[in-house]
């Protein structure tokens, strides 16, 4: 039995020697240092005096003295007593001296010291008569490199060996043996059937998802097994090689309880919205983003390749240490770091590919447009616009100037947009030093006609860490971002811009007249002219994120940390609105003009955010059963932004856009804003007997956004955990379930984001007014009401969770149930408008979010085949609990008690009325036999609305109800990866189980206004001959059928193949002669396939809209990863 390895759970507990030691390491490096990158210095001088201690005790002592994790298995003679005396000796020498006599050796691996038997002596071939020799290599499945020190054992025996420096092994296998077992610390154990082979090469998969994992938490790190809060995390491999342009998009579907909505792919401006456990407030619901310990970063412009890990703190226990602003959850991003003592490693990755829209409207041509227009006009008793002769003209194309047949959707969109990305990084280290340098370049093309739409981003990062005098660790992390994006001078958005114009312009208009000039025949401006000649809106920005920190170990278990963070940006926007002239194709005269005077508008934005954080930490283990950790800290942050803009008109050129060229109307403007926050906070952890976990947090916050009297508030949380798998009663189960833990937390947090920096002050500022004295005139006025009593929103969060590790930790399960209740919500309580001004925010509302989250991960290796499955599913139910006693708002989106925030409020449509629903009189007048809204010209083909209160008429105030909600429910993700020899594949599905969407106006309807044009779906409109139609009859400039009703609410649930990628890594044997340690080629695609019942023309993630948004895209890329060592 000597060679039988303990279960994984046993290994977990023992690998990292004393938990206190680990805690110290991680906590001291924390927040800005991933724990896996701790440094092990074998040359450090140690002093120990031990007499007659067991080997276990000796190793523990050495570990604690040298601050290094020492890992060993229970197969070693741990209870062997020995004595050690060393004074200022190198650790390595001491170890050697201790281990040699025991036939053991030490080895540095994965930042740990591994103690193992001396191979040659410990593993003698057994003396079986008929034995075969098996040899092979054990490789790291990810890097393809050989793994030294892997234990290879014949299953069911103690016969075994370990691999050499190159990962090679040779083993004599007794007759009758069927399987070999390969095991290694930090990797999943693998069993391989012999099948009479004599050469077996094995790839081991790193076990970095097991519960032994260390995760980044607020101002520190924590072993996942000891977590009492609700924290989800991903690491670099989860988002690698995807054609994402920003890390926000990358989070979608990967983390339970984290909802990301990506609605647009507009180059440079395609960041999605993140919601952690639903919408907790009626105001700003964005979670706090903390990058390398500095709050307030912009996740959207970070280079995804620089990210080492992302943790999302979801409950009060984990996030309340961020107090203010943590109320909506916290996203902690840790960037990559070099490895001390590691050889330089140069990595180049790239991809090149293209984007295509996921959905586009299908519009009808001129003949259909004209015929249906006439029909819609006849339907409301108006004179049809077009004669048969004109329709014939359009049909035969004989008048290409005034009766063209243009598909404007095709004209405004290109077939595809290019996208490419390049990254170079160098990392490594020397003694007492590590470095990471990276440069990333991203280029996105646009889908819109003309060359205006494009974006570029350059990210550079330098990170240096050093240790001074054994006690002081310094870390400097500098990020520089230079990015720009541009588009037409007209922006894209709901109901505006060229994409909206393309929905509204008649197919009769030619893109260009036969005379060559831009086509125009009234109504809508020509969107192709706008995007081609209408000028540009160019944004460029330089951003610096600087982050310096120091950590000083004063004495055993106590350290001080200080951090300074700076995020500063300098941005510029230049809008050149150019004159577009439209000339008559008949006589060449000017018939229309946009931007009669061309205008150059230059805007300058600067912003500086600074924070100081000072922390003191102490941790200690008392006896063998008590561990404590304490953290006390203070911080302050301030933010200041200044904007300046200037414009001039009538530039004598359309080619060069510079402000000095303008000749008229020199205007300028400026504004500025600032705010500050000051906080004291702390945390205490207590662990008893490795199984009872206790944690408490507090935070005392003061915000400049509130008046002095109500500025400060105290928030706190408490949490408990019980690792019941450590209990004796669990022993019988341990072979199946290695780790089982339950946890619970409760706490409060605050939110000061009220959208205004001085909501308590009555401010007076400039307002526009009528020109007095024949010159531009300014007035001064108060435009918003102050509220001096305005104070923090506070969220009460309750969380219950369970974590399980099963089947040798190959299967991990995690479940959470939570109730978040936001009180004193900063709410603009709508008041009667006799007030005469925008209502101030009041602490009025209450919102509750209840939900659950499940996550299951499976990772295993079968022979040469390794694979993993990661799934998550979560739900959150949002409910408005109180609106501060004021009447609810009415409109299409409402806030009603007991309903989700901004629920859809509309009529209930029954069906389309048929002639049989009407009484008909002699003069063919139809009188409905159903209730209608006064003034609606109800006719066969119109919608029948349900008379909810049964009073015989439909009124908007009596017959509407909540009919849906846009807040996504049942978010899920399923990610599978597989590797086989050099091949790897990953597939990632993501979706939403329930959500409602609403597409209205020109994007959905035809002829309700001059600018709402027919699409293919409108061919199936109601007519006396098509009574089973899907669309009501066409009614020119009437919209009684188009009111928000259940008829128009879209099912926004979807299942999407979010990403699929396949790659091939060339065998190291081939590439290593060129000093290439890794060479991988891959193809990757995002959003390739979507299953949804949403309105066909738009992506299910499209925001509520009347059309005009830049679409969501599918992206297909091909790329290369190269690492040189």
């Amino acid at each position: 039995m000597a060679k039988k390895f303990y279960s994984r759970a046993g290994a977990v507990r023992r690998v990292l020697t004393r938990p206190a030691c680990l805690g110290l390491l991680t906590l001291t490096l924390v927040a800005w240092t991933p724990p896996s990158l701790a440094q092990v210095d074998l040359q450090q001088k140690v002093s120990v005096q031990l007499k007659e201690k067991t080997l276990r005790q000796v190793l523990q002592k050495l570990s604690s003295v040298a601050h290094v994790p020492i890992a060993y298995t229970n197969t070693l003679p741990l209870d062997k007593k020995l004595s050690v005396q060393a004074t200022n000796e190198e650790l390595e020498d001491v170890l050697r001296r201790v281990l040699r006599p025991l036939q053991l050796q030490h080895r540095l691996l994965a930042e740990r010291i591994i103690i193992e038997p001396l191979p040659a002596k410990a593993l003698e071939p057994s003396n079986t008569s008929r034995a075969t020799t098996v040899q092979g290599t054990v490789l790291d499945a990810q890097t393809g490199g050989g793994l030294p020190g892997v234990n290879v054992v014949v299953q069911g025996t103690t016969t075994g060996t370990t691999t050499d420096a190159e990962g090679r092994y040779q083993l004599t296998v007794p007759d009758g043996a069927t399987k070999l077992v390969y095991s290694f610390v930090g990797y999943l154990t693998q069993e391989v059937a012999l099948e009479n082979r004599t050469t077996i090469t094995v790839r081991l998969v790193a076990d970095n998802k097991a519960l032994s994992e260390v995760v980044v938490v607020g101002y520190g790190t924590q072993k996942k097994v000891n977590l009492t809060g609700a924290v989800s995390n991903i690491d670099a491999t989860d988002i690698a090689n995807r054609p994402i342009t920003n890390p926000t998009s990358a989070l979608q579907g990967l983390l339970p309880g984290v909802t990301v909505v990506n609605s647009t792919a507009l180059p440079g401006q395609n960041g999605g919205t993140i919601r952690v456990r639903g919408v907790g407030t009626l105001g700003d619901s964005n979670p706090l983003v903390v990058i390398d310990g500095v709050p307030g970063g912009d996740l959207n412009i970070l280079n995804p390749n620089d990210i080492e890990s992302i943790s999302v703190l979801k409950d009060a226990a984990s996030s309340s240490i961020y107090g203010v602003r943590g109320a909506n959850g916290v996203v902690l991003v840790t960037t990559k770091k070099g490895k001390e003592g590691a050889a330089p490693s140069l990595t180049y990755t790239n991809y090149i590919g293209f984007q295509t829209p996921t959905a586009l409207p299908k519009v009808l041509g001129s003949v259909d447009y004209m015929q249906l227009l006439n029909e819609s006009q006849r339907n409301v008793g108006r004179v049809p616009t077009y004669t048969d002769a004109e329709i014939e003209t359009a049909r035969n194309g004989s008048d290409p100037n005034y009766f063209a047949n243009t598909n404007w959707i095709k004209e405004i969109y290109k077939d595809h947009a290019p996208q490419q990305n390049h990254n170079v990084s160098l990392n490594g280290g020397a003694k007492n030093l590590s470095y990471y340098l990276s440069y990333g370049h991203l280029r996105e093309g646009g889908l819109i006609t003309g060359d205006n739409y494009q974006a570029r981003r350059n990210n550079a990062r330098v990170r240096l860490s050093t240790t001074l005098l054994d006690r002081l660790q310094l870390d400097a992390n500098l990020g520089y971002i230079n990015r720009d994006y541009q588009g037409s001078s007209e922006g894209v958005g709901s109901g505006s811009g060229p994409l909206y114009a393309a929905l509204q312009i008649l197919p009769l208009v030619p893109v260009r007249f036969t005379t060559g000039g831009w086509g125009y025949i009234g109504g809508q401006r020509n969107p192709v002219a706008v995007t081609t000649d209408g000028g540009t809106n160019a944004f460029s920005s330089q951003e610096v994120t600087a982050n310096m920190s120091g950590s000083l170990r004063l004495f055993e278990g106590f350290r001080l940390r200080g951090q300074y963070g700076l995020v500063t940006s300098n941005s510029k926007r230049t809008i050149f609105s150019k004159t577009i002239n439209y000339y008559s194709p008949v006589d060449g005269s000017l018939i229309y003009q946009t931007n009669a005077k061309n205008t150059l508008d230059a805007r300058d934005y600067t912003n500086t955010y600074q924070t100081f954080i000072g922390m003191a930490e102490y941790e200690k283990r008392f006896g063998s059963k008590h561990e404590i950790k304490l953290l006390l800290a203070a911080s302050q942050e301030s933010n200041r932004g200044e904007n300046f803009s200037a414009s001039r008109q009538s530039l004598p050129t359309q080619e060069v856009g510079a402000i000095n060229l303008g000749t008229e109307n020199q205007l300028n403007n400026g504004d500025a804003t600032h705010n500050a926050l000051r906080s004291a906070f702390g945390r205490a952890n207590y662990i008893f007997n490795n199984r009872y976990l206790l944690e408490g947090n507090f935070r005392y916050d003061g915000s400049s956004r509130f008046s002095r009297d109500v500025r400060w508030n105290l928030f706190g949380s408490g949490s408990v955990g019980w690792i019941f798998s450590e209990e004796r009663f669990f022993d019988g189960l341990r072979n199946t379930v290695q780790v089982a833990k339950i946890r619970a937390s409760y706490g409060t947090q605050g939110n000061d984001r009220v959208g205004d920096d001085y909501p308590y002050l009555a401010t007076i500022g400039p307002v526009g007014t009528m020109p007095i004295g024949n010159q531009q005139t300014l007035g001064y006025a108060q435009t918003e009401l102050p509220n001096t009593r305005l104070t923090w929103e506070s969220v009460q969060k309750t969380n219950f969770g369970i974590d399980l590790g099963l089947l040798r930790n190959r299967l991990t399960l995690s479940g959470d149930y939570f109730i978040n209740r936001t009180n004193d919500i900063l709410l603009r309580v709508t008041l009667p408008d006799v007030l005469g001004a925008t209502e101030p925010s009041q602490n009025a509302g209450k919102v509750q979010n209840k939900g659950w989250e499940l996550q299951a991960n499976w990772k295993d290796q079968v022979g040469q085949f390794n694979y993993s499955l990661t799934t998550n599913l979560s739900d959150v139910r949002n409910e408005v609990v109180s609106l501060g006693g004021v009447p609810p708002t009415f409109g299409d989106r409402v806030r009603f008690l007991g309903e989700p925030i901004d629920a859809f409020y509309g009529l209930v449509a029954d069906r389309i009325a048929q002639a049989s629903d009407f009484d008909v009189d002699g003069s063919n007048r139809y009188t409905p036999r159903f209730a209608t809204i006064a003034g609606d010209p109800a006719q066969p083909g119109d919608l029948i609305y349900k008379d909810l209160n049964g009073d015989g008429v439909i009124t908007l105030d009596q017959d509407r109800k909540v009919i849906g909600s846009a807040i996504p429910r049942y978010n899920y993700g399923l990610r599978a990866t597989a590797g086989w020899h050099g091949f790897d594949a990953a597939i990632f599905f993501q979706g939403v189980g329930q959500a409602d969407g609403y597409i209205s106006g020109a994007a959905r309807h035809a002829y309700i206004s001059e600018g709402s044009l027919p699409q293919e779906i409108h061919l199936d409109r109601w007519t006396p001959d098509n009574t089973g139609a899907s669309y009501p009859r066409l009614t020119y400039q009437q919209s009684h059928n188009q009111r928000l009703s259940t008829y128009w609410l879209e099912d926004a649930s979807y299942l999407r193949l979010k990403n699929v990628q396949v790659g091939y890594t060339l065998p190291a044997s081939l590439t290593q002669k060129f000093r290439v340690s890794l060479l991988r080629v891959y193809a990757s695609a995002d959003n390739l396939w979507t299953r949804s019942d949403f309105f066909y023309a738009y992506d299910p993630e499209t925001p509520l809209s009347v059309g005009g948004f830049y679409p969501q895209v599918k992206t297909v890329v091909f790329g290369l990863n190269v690492t040189l060592k």
Binding site: L590, S635, L761, P771, I772, A781, P832, G836, L956, Q1037
Partner: protein
Amino acid sequence: MKRTLLSGLLGLALLTSACEKEYLDRVPLDALVDETFWETEDQLRLAANGCYAFLKAKNTVDMENLGDNTLWPSVTDYQRIASGNFTNDVAALNSDWTSGYDGIRRCNAFLGNYGRAQVADPARKEALAAEVRVIRAYLYSYLTAFYGDVPLITKTLEIDDPEVYGARTPRSEVVDFMLTELDEAAANLPSAIPTGTNLGRISKGAALALKARIALQEGRYAVAEQAAKAVMDLNVYQLYTAGGTANAYRNLFTYTGKLAAGGNKETILARTHLADISMHNLSRELQVPDQNARWNPTKSLVDSYLCTDGLPIDKSPLYKDATYADVFKNRDPRMTQTVLAPGATWGGRYDGNTQNTNPAVYTTPKFRSDRRGSVTITGYYFTKYVEPSTVAQVSRDANDIHLIRLAEVLLTYAEARLEQGKLTQADVDLTINKLRQRVGLRNMTLTELAARGLDVRTEIRRERRVELALEGQRYFDLLRWKQGNLLADDVKGMKKAWAHSAADVAGLPTDANGFIIAYTNRNFSPARNYLWPIPLVQLERNPNLGQNPGW
């Protein structure tokens, strides 16, 4: 070395307590705080300027859609209201309420604070306050005209003031308030027409003229008469005559009549505009060259113009209607300066006559939507308020919107005298005939009217309709005259037979006499339509407002 580092980090850790105490006291960097404002005359002027933002601009003209002078080609809120087929959720009902009270708040804020300022000459700050009082009364005058009783708010409301959820004040009380305020304002305002950097400011005449308008609207004829007479007696206003009888009236509504052009002594209050800075889209809407003209004069308006002999068309032998062009002959000269006549220049480009190759000259109405010229739905176009140079461009019209001018005051005086039974020929000569002389139309003589069997009241009202067409007054006049029934009539256009191409109008419905019916199915219930309903949103937020009768 170690010690330095140590103390440095300790300092860092204790930083928050060590730093300056005022760290969290952040005052605005780009705005003033209420406590420190309202101190100087400059600040008062800036605050008063801010109130001018609530003088209605083109919206004044838009309100013409509530009446029977014009027809918009597509459905608008004002059109729905005018047609009688609407409910209390129509957006315009609420936006007029909301914008009114937004303006009133700004005025109240000024009037509640201006006393704090230290101004060397107190008369100057009272004059600014008077301007603001006039604007506040102006805003209330629309609220009472639309909704009848409305909450009378005269102070800057805080969110917990009971007035926020108060009931409505009876209309007569609001009117009393407005009239008193305007008297007070008039007393503190200079009578001269403001010029130079004050061009466009409110003067004594504006206060009095608004008082006359409100008093007339409310049937307080003596007050109206007195206020109108006071304006006339200021002797600073005179009718605009530049361009002669054939052009002066129309010129007033072009750039030549802008206050800034210097020649206009007729306009008492205008919402001024300025090229590139403050512009609207009215000229283009009137004759938009490639679509339906948004403003289509109705048969009702066209028919209301007298013939040159002073007789209405149904009585005058001069009236002929064999052709489209005939209609414009021998008519009140204001007709062709208001409604586009054949032969006039226009900005609408190709008209209904395919033989007419000169896009600058209008000959015949266009019904065909071929996007090559301005299309009418009634057969008529406006020329009043068209500044031709701005028709081809969107929202490049810097024409002033004339809110009150002397002509209205004269008409108000005449009507007020009439309604009190005091109208004399001298009154007519002082008012109506001045307007007629400007355009060269035969004088109105009371004896002649009697001899011809014409009703004086009808003729005075006709004069008002004709003179003020397209100036946003017609709807309020109809309400005052209790002629809401006219709004229930079908809206008609020209006779179909006059069309240049019969095919172009073939599908248009006509009445028994062959006139185009452009809008039908209208109704007006006297029991309820003389007032707008309280908007749904406001009623939901404050049920204490109560609803108007019939709604």
